[in-house]
């Protein structure tokens, strides 16, 4: 052997090692913030409820479909802001990296001297991002759920599991979209920039701006609506929204090889 290590067995295993650090950072971030948020908001007690009631409607919408209880507000803060933000950074960054990361770093010329296809390299790396996205979402669920359990609070029928599943669908959809964009354009900045802009705009339209009647209709046609718009924390999994999110993720994943094959490898 020249050098030992399972990370050197395949493109997949190398990608697992490369992505394990950002995934671990993301997991620690959402778990830590989730746990802290639950305890902190709960510690403020009724003050938080009064604060929530005094908020303008648009600001309340930032907390998702919070019921105004301290725990509800914490859940809202984590699932409506922190967890999606962390997950999107991982999925969008990872998606573009899967499509064009090695090409932009200049390592793909040598890698493809081996019997590998560009599509194969991209999809193995994307699989790692899919796994990481699921793990980060599960970590969010476990941290929030765990903190609620420790406090002995009622989750009030709030369906954290459903929200987590919807979050996974949302992350995969946006990550795959960024991957396909990068594959077609050959530029990671376009993949990251456009996907991030759409995610932020759709969050604004579906939460803060949705209270304005002018945005009421359009707010139902955004990626964020597929995640949170059907109130999964109250109503459980919206199968059509989940199916559409995952369907789009699969569609973008299939479009990625087409984008790669129509474009010369940058040299």
């Amino acid at each position: 052997m020249l050098a030992n290590g399972p990370s050197l067995n395949s493109v997949f295993s190398k990608a697992v090692v490369e992505r394990s650090r950002p995934a671990a950072v993301a997991i620690v971030l959402v778990a830590f913030y989730g746990g802290i948020a639950i305890f902190a908001y709960n510690g403020f007690g009724d003050t938080m409820t009064e604060l929530f009631d005094a908020m303008p409607e648009g600001l309340r919408a930032v907390y998702g479909s919070s019921d105004g209880t301290p725990v509800g507000m914490a859940v809202g803060a984590v699932y409506a802001i922190i967890a999606p933000a962390v997950l999107l950074v991982f999925a969008i960054g990872g998606g573009t990296g899967a499509a064009v990361g090695e090409e932009m770093k200049g390592t793909l010329d040598l890698l493809l001297a081996n019997p590998l296809s560009r599509t194969g390299v991209a999809l193995w790396k994307w699989l790692v991002i899919v796994i990481g996205t699921v793990l980060i979402a599960l970590a969010t669920w476990l941290s929030i759920g765990g903190a609620v359990l420790i406090l002995g609070k009622e989750s009030g029928g709030r369906n954290l599991g459903a929200l987590t599943v919807m979050l996974i669908g949302f992350g995969l959809m946006m990550g795959a979209f960024a991957m396909a964009l990068a594959a077609w354009t050959g530029r990671s900045t376009i993949g990251i920039g456009v996907a991030s802009a759409i995610a932020v705009a759709s969050w604004l339209i579906t939460t803060v701006l949705a209270v304005n009647p002018a945005f009421e209709t359009i707010s139902k046609f955004t990626p964020w609506y597929l995640y949170d718009g059907t109130d999964p924390i109250v109503n459980g999994i919206s199968w059509w929204a989940l199916g559409l999110s995952l369907g789009l993720a699969v569609l973008f994943t299939f479009l990625t090889p087409l984008g790669l094959s129509r474009r010369d490898l940058k040299g």
Partner: protein, 316 residues
């Protein structure tokens, strides 16, 4: 049954917008030969190689590698070739050994002992991180990955870049070993001396067009050679005008340089009509041949047949 060619391109053309990177390239490289692919930067060498590997899609034409279609069987054909690009980056966080292990795992069937032997011959330190390597050391790791697989066709793009002369000599022995093994080396280079020493045949590419494919020996025979003559007295360049085979003459007082092709007899008969102190014949090397083929008319000061006379510089 005849062997399929190692490389065969028919009308291979690649345009980038209005720029013709490669134009109607018809090339055949046989198995078992060392083929030198020559041309300056931007001539289309790398474009050709990237087309062979399906890294880029040709505008028109086709390419086959070991009988496999480059466009539709690219993954399959990469099983049978190894390749070192001209410009590439490596995984900076890995050591040289880890990098080679990764590539060996991706292919399978690599003899680790042979990898160590290659590293020793090229003087590569496999224990250092790639980020700490010099350009030459990175080049060595790239070369080891190209040779360690013992594939049927070894494609090397500017392989001598950054290597010191001793390592270059070792590299030439490695080319020879590949050939002795019945395998093929496709050697793209603008380092003419490197190709001249090892190649059986060369192809010269100019502005995307293949202008000649010849055996190195034949090319040398056809090449313009040069005689540097020192006469007892000043001799005018016009003396050699019209002499059979003479392509150009430069005269500086008693020192005359004559470029010629073909038999030297007529030229010598003119030379010996004058008192000769010294005569020096320079064997044509590929550099001159290359420049002859490459020199564009517009850039050529002295064309074939031109006679140039220069005044003796003042001394004193």
């Amino acid at each position: 049954m005849a062997q399929v060619p190692a490389i065969r391109t028919v009308g291979l053309t690649k345009h980038y917008g209005k720029t013709e990177a490669l134009n109607d390239l018809d090339l055949q490289v046989e198995q078992g030969e060392i083929f030198g692919f020559l041309g300056p930067n931007g001539a289309g060498k790398t474009t050709t190689i990237r087309s062979l590997l399906n890294y880029i899609t040709p505008t028109s034409g086709s390419a086959q590698v070991l009988g496999m279609d480059a466009a539709t069987q690219s993954v399959e054909l990469r099983e049978h070739i190894s390749y070192q690009p001209a410009d590439y980056s490596m995984y900076e966080n890995l050591t040289g050994g880890q990098f080679l292990q990764y590539f060996a795992n991706l292919r399978g069937g690599v003899d680790v002992g042979y990898v160590h032997e290659l590293a020793e011959r090229l003087g590569a330190d496999l224990g250092k991180k790639i980020s700490d390597y010099s350009t030459g050391n990175k080049q060595k790791i790239g070369l080891i990955q190209a040779f360690m697989n013992k594939r049927q066709l070894v494609i090397l793009d500017e392989p001598a870049t950054g290597l010191d002369p001793l390592v270059q000599q070792e590299l030439q022995r490695m080319y020879q070993e590949v050939q002795d093994d019945g395998r093929t080396v496709f050697l793209s280079s603008h380092t003419l001396s490197e190709v001249e020493r090892v190649a059986d045949r060369v192809g010269i590419l100019r502005q995307g067009r293949l202008i000649v494919v010849e055996r190195v020996d034949d090319l040398k025979r056809k090449a313009i050679r040069r005689l540097d003559i020192e006469f007892e007295n000043d001799v005018a360049a016009s003396v050699f005008e019209g002499v059979n085979g003479v392509r150009s003459v430069t005269a500086r007082g008693p020192h005359v340089s004559v470029s010629f092709d073909g038999p030297v007899g007529d030229l010598l008969r003119v030379v010996v009509d004058h008192d000769v102190l010294n005569i020096h014949s320079r064997e044509a090397d590929l550099e001159e041949i290359f420049l002859t083929y490459y020199r564009s008319d517009a850039a050529t000061g002295a064309r074939a047949g031109d006679v140039v006379e220069e005044a003796m510089p003042d001394v004193g």
